[in-house]
């Protein structure tokens, strides 16, 4: 599975929140499927880690799970984002963006320095 990136633990929760922010209730497998579809299978999510993450988010009241029957006729727990979760997502996303911007600035500066050092 070359080319795939392991998802860091902390970011998994952010990913889930972002996935659910579309508004469609999704079960655990659905979330996985959605992320891999959206990223062209670029991200590798450890399946076993997803469910504790979901329950942790539920415990913090950022998402809410309800039992429903899936289109395949199976009972499944569908998660939606709560108001609290939406606010949390906004906060974390902003932080991520700041981090990314900072990363970009550092990367550009490093590149420029490398270019200057070359004769």
């Amino acid at each position: 599975m070359a080319g795939k990136v392991d998802v860091v633990r902390g970011t998994l929760e952010l990913l889930v929140l972002k996935t659910l922010s579309a508004g469609t209730p999704l079960h655990g497998f659905g979330i996985l499927r959605w992320i891999s579809d959206a990223t062209g299978e670029a991200l590798l999510i450890e399946e076993g880690a997803l469910y504790p993450a979901l329950h942790r988010l539920e415990q913090r009241a950022w998402i809410h799970g309800d039992w429903q029957v899936s289109e395949k006729g199976r009972r499944a727990k569908y998660y939606v984002l709560t108001q609290l979760g939406r606010r949390q997502l906004v906060r974390e996303e902003a932080q991520w963006l700041r981090y990314l911007t900072a990363w970009q600035a550092i990367a550009e500066a490093a590149e420029a320095a490398a270019a200057g050092a070359r004769p």
Binding site: W67, R75, K77
Partner: protein
């Protein structure tokens, strides 16, 4: 969860936590298998692959379950808080909506709880709070018991007490109370001081807040006299001066160095206030005089379980200790100080009675609250029924109603505290000094009262608030509801509860009214007793002569004679005469055996007292006491002459032939006493006050030439007009003779005499107020229930009218219903009052606790008041417009 769903608790179908986790994992794996099969993997391989890809299922499941548990806890907490907030919001809104009702309930509760809070602060200060010493349950007092009766006196012969103190392994404290003339303060005062041995601080476990305590060297007869001050004496008489430790206090003309100040609120002995504590020296002196003359009191510490063993030892040793001091068979024993104050006394009985009374008031108030809430509960049962129908469970509605009741109760508690403050202040004004005298703490509303008040508010609020709630949910049960419009709230159960509450209310009021009527009756009978003196135009001056300023002897006699003459010369004063004490504060003898010369010895009932006082030649002229036979004292009569004047009761007891036969006869008060000669017989004189049951006899000794007069003296002052007008003049006259002469009491004789009945008057006044309050609450209850009943039965009454019932018939119907309730309540109340009679009996005078006339009068009053309370609802029923009622 939506607001609506929370309100009614529609149940969600939620799987058990373990199932939920398993299902969720299984669902994932199934989906993955589907996916793999779709990609072309064989079924069993796909399953194996999917499970491996998921990882350590057991660990993940555990982790998920732990998280779920925390989620569930958080949810429950949120729901609880949400419900509470909602209940409070609902409660406040409904209180706002029914403001009139809320005010009624709060005031009713506040009355009941306030009365209890006030009473609690009295009983707490008097009886409940532990004594203000370290480990008060260990404190024991020495008692001196003289057979045949088992009654122990706290007064121990001084020598025996000293010997016991030596014998006792524990440090033991001897103390004796005395009065001293205090000069150099704002005004000359006779103050009470306590001479104590230096074990004082060690035995009681209380040390001064300022300066030092008493030391063993202070008890040396040669040591300079020192004083440890009482905190409030320091504040009130010395202005709380900060350099008090460098000051001296002059007692009996002797300067005492102030070495310390005890903490505020410290009292020893527990009864009464004390100006300060000085060392009882090894030679028995203190405060510049002989303090320990014959008797002292003694206290030590013994853990409660060891008291019996100590007493067994003391019984053996005590015989030697008392060898010389006591009569044959006398012995010493230790009695727990804490237990002694809870003995049945007149005061404790009065406290019990009043506590019972305020408890009844609280019950009446609670019943009224329940009634008011019930009346509303049924008007809103339509609302409750709807809520239950859409899924709110019974517990939830009960909680809602309980929250409202608690809100009302808390408001009631707040108002009750304010009321208790007012009542306690009022009580302090009318409370007999004999009650405050024995309280080891000042009577005030403090934190224990506050705890009690809110505890009582919560209990009352919940009890009487939930009573209607039970009813409400009963009627609101949808199955029983039937038609919700008119039927709701007319449940038969509710009416029974309401009627029962009114019956209870009336019954409690009857009990209180009977008790109050008996006490008032008893008090008026006391006051009707002829005191044997003409008190109307008379004043009493009570004072003590300082042994240092006026030592016994010719000087004191001259001083007293001058006082008498100067007071007699005050404008408005007709005459004045000194006595050894005026009723009700005269001396007493007890344990007497009467023996007529040449006759047999007759022992007086051991519980009976023989009151006596000393009188001069002008006694009868000034006081208005009536001489029936013989002569008054002359200036030649003195104590040694053996001449006495006795009252008619005693004369007839000794010589049944009559007063004239007694003159010139001799008798004595015991084999060792001197013979007394009857010089005169006077009409009955109530020396102890109007209640003669403790001692119906009276005796006068001659005051003689004044040199032998002891400490306490009362002057009877006959005035031309209102005695209040001469008081200033008398005070000035006394000060002119000796500016340092303290005056303890200078009041009209009626006021002075009334001190004897301050307890009966206090009880009569207080019970009267409480009973009136109960009657008022009960009549409000009767009115409320009938008015509500009429409103509820408009329909039925309207139908009756259409069917030809006349207004007067409807009126009679309502009045009859009210009177039936009142009559049932009255009957129950009479039963209760008969049961309560035993407590009341102890404080009654001249009235039986089952006095028929009183019961009849009370029942009649209650029925009349109840009838009056039915009038308004009855009129409303009679004036119903049937057309309007039936159309509406």
């Amino acid at each position: 969860m939506s607001r609506r769903r929370r309100l009614f608790h529609l149940r969600e179908s939620r799987p058990a936590p373990v199932d939920a986790v398993n299902w969720e994992i299984e669902h994932h794996i199934q989906e993955r298998i589907d996916e793999l099969i779709e990609e072309g993997m064989p079924g069993d391989e796909a399953e194996e692959h999917a499970r491996r890809a998921f990882g350590d299922i057991a660990r993940i499941r555990r982790e998920m379950l732990e998280l779920d548990e925390r989620t569930e806890r958080r949810r429950r907490m949120t729901r609880l808080l949400d419900d509470l907030a909602q209940d409070l919001r609902f409660g406040l809104r409904s209180i706002r909506l029914h403001a009139g009702l809320a005010v009624g309930v709060v005031l009713t509760l506040a009355l009941g709880i306030g009365a209890n809070a006030a009473m609690f602060s009295v009983v707490d200060a008097l009886l409940l709070r532990p004594l203000p010493y370290a480990a008060p349950d260990e404190l024991v007092a020495l008692e001196f018991v003289t057979p045949p009766n088992d009654w122990g006196r706290p007064n121990i012969p001084y020598d025996a007490a000293r010997a016991w103190q030596e014998l006792e392994a524990q440090p033991a404290l001897l103390h004796v109370r005395t009065t001293a003339l205090h000069t150099g303060g704002f005004e000359p005062l006779t103050v009470a001081v306590q001479a104590v041995t230096p074990e004082f601080h060690q035995v009681l476990g209380v040390t001064p807040v300022l300066g030092r305590g008493l030391l063993p060297e202070d008890a040396d007869p040669a040591a300079p006299p020192v004083l440890v001050l009482d905190h409030s004496f320091w504040q009130a008489q010395l202005g709380g001066m900060s350099d008090v430790l460098e000051r001296t206090v002059t007692l009996n003309g002797v300067e005492h160095d102030v070495v310390g100040v005890m903490p505020a609120g410290f009292r020893f002995p527990t009864y009464a206030t004390t100006a300060g504590w000085g060392a009882l020296r090894t030679d028995g002196t203190a405060f510049g005089g002989q303090a320990a003359r014959s008797f002292v009191e003694a206290v030590t510490r013994v853990p409660p379980p060891d008291v019996e063993a100590s007493n067994a030892r003391l019984r053996v040793a005590g015989e030697n200790l008392l060898a010389e001091a006591g009569p044959a068979g006398a012995y010493l024993r230790l009695a727990r100080v804490d237990a002694r104050r809870r003995q049945v006394t007149e005061h404790n009985q009065a406290m019990l009675l009043l506590s019972g009374a305020v408890l009844l008031i609280l019950l009446v108030a609670g019943v009224n609250m329940a009634n008011l809430l019930l009346a509303r509960g049924s008007t809103r049962s339509g609302e409750l029924a709807i809520r239950m129908a859409v899924g709110a469970d019974r517990g939830r509605i009960m909680r809602q109603i309980a929250t409202e009741a608690l809100l009302l109760a808390l408001l009631g508690g707040v108002v009750a505290v304010l009321m208790a403050l007012l009542v306690v202040r009022a009580l302090q004004g009318i409370m007999p000094s004999s009650i405050t005298f024995y309280a080891p703490y000042a009577i005030a509303v403090e934190h224990r009262t506050l705890i009690f008040t809110f505890g009582a508010a919560l209990v009352t609020g919940l009890t009487f608030g939930l009573l209607p709630a039970l009813g409400a949910t009963d009627w609101a049960r949808p199955a029983a509801g039937g038609g919700m419009s008119r039927q709701a709230g007319r449940g038969r159960g509710g009416r029974w509860v309401r009627n029962g509450l009114v019956v209870a209310e009336v019954a409690f009021s009857v009990m209180l009214l009977v008790t109050a009527a008996l006490l008032i009756n008893s008090f008026t009978r006391l006051m009707r007793n002829d005191p044997g003196m003409d008190l109307d135009r008379m004043a009493v001056l009570q004072f003590a002569v300082s042994p240092s300023a006026h030592p016994a002897g010719d000087g004191r006699a001259a001083y007293l004679r001058e006082l008498e003459e100067r007071v007699a010369a005050v404008p408005g004063v007709a005459a004045a005469t000194l006595t050894g004490g005026l009723p009700p504060h005269t001396s007493i003898s007890f344990g007497i055996t009467f023996e007529v010369e040449g006759g047999e010895a007759t022992p007086m009932d051991p519980g009976m007292l023989l009151p006596f006082t000393e009188a001069g030649p002008d006694f009868f002229r000034v006081t208005g006491a009536r001489l029936l036979a013989g002569r008054p004292f002359t200036s030649a009569d003195d104590r040694a002459s053996g001449n006495v004047i006795i009252d008619e009761d005693l004369a007839r007891f000794l010589w049944p032939e009559g007063p004239a036969a007694a003159i010139g006869q001799r008798f004595r008060l015991g084999a060792e006493s001197d013979w007394l000669t009857v010089a005169g017989v006077m009409a009955d004189l109530r020396l102890l006050g109007p209640d003669e049951r403790r001692g119906e006899f009276a005796m006068l000794y001659p005051l003689g030439s004044y040199e032998r007069v002891g400490g306490q003296i009362a002057m009877a002052i006959r005035t031309h007009g209102d005695p209040r007008h001469v008081l200033t003049g008398v005070r000035a006259a006394v000060r002119e003779v000796d500016a340092n002469q303290p005056i303890q009491d200078l009041v009209p004789a009626t006021t002075y005499y009334a001190q004897a009945v301050d307890m009966p008057r206090f009880l009569a006044v207080l019970m009267g107020i409480l009973a009136a309050l109960a009657l008022l609450l009960a009549s409000v209850g009767v009115h409320g229930v009938l008015a509500f009943g009429v409103a509820q039965r408009r329909h039925e009454l309207g139908v009756r009218m259409v069917m030809g019932a006349r207004s007067s018939q409807l009126r009679r119907l309502v009045v009859g219903e009210g009177l039936t309730l009142a009559a049932v309540g009255a009957a129950l109340g009479v039963g209760g009052a008969l049961l309560a009679g035993r407590v009341v009996d102890g404080v009654l005078y001249g009235v039986a606790p089952r006095d028929v006339a009183t019961f009849v009068a009370v029942v009649a009053t209650v029925l009349i008041v109840s009838a009056a309370a039915t009038l308004r609802p009855a009129n409303r029923a009679a004036r119903l417009d049937p057309g309007e009622v039936l159309r509406g």
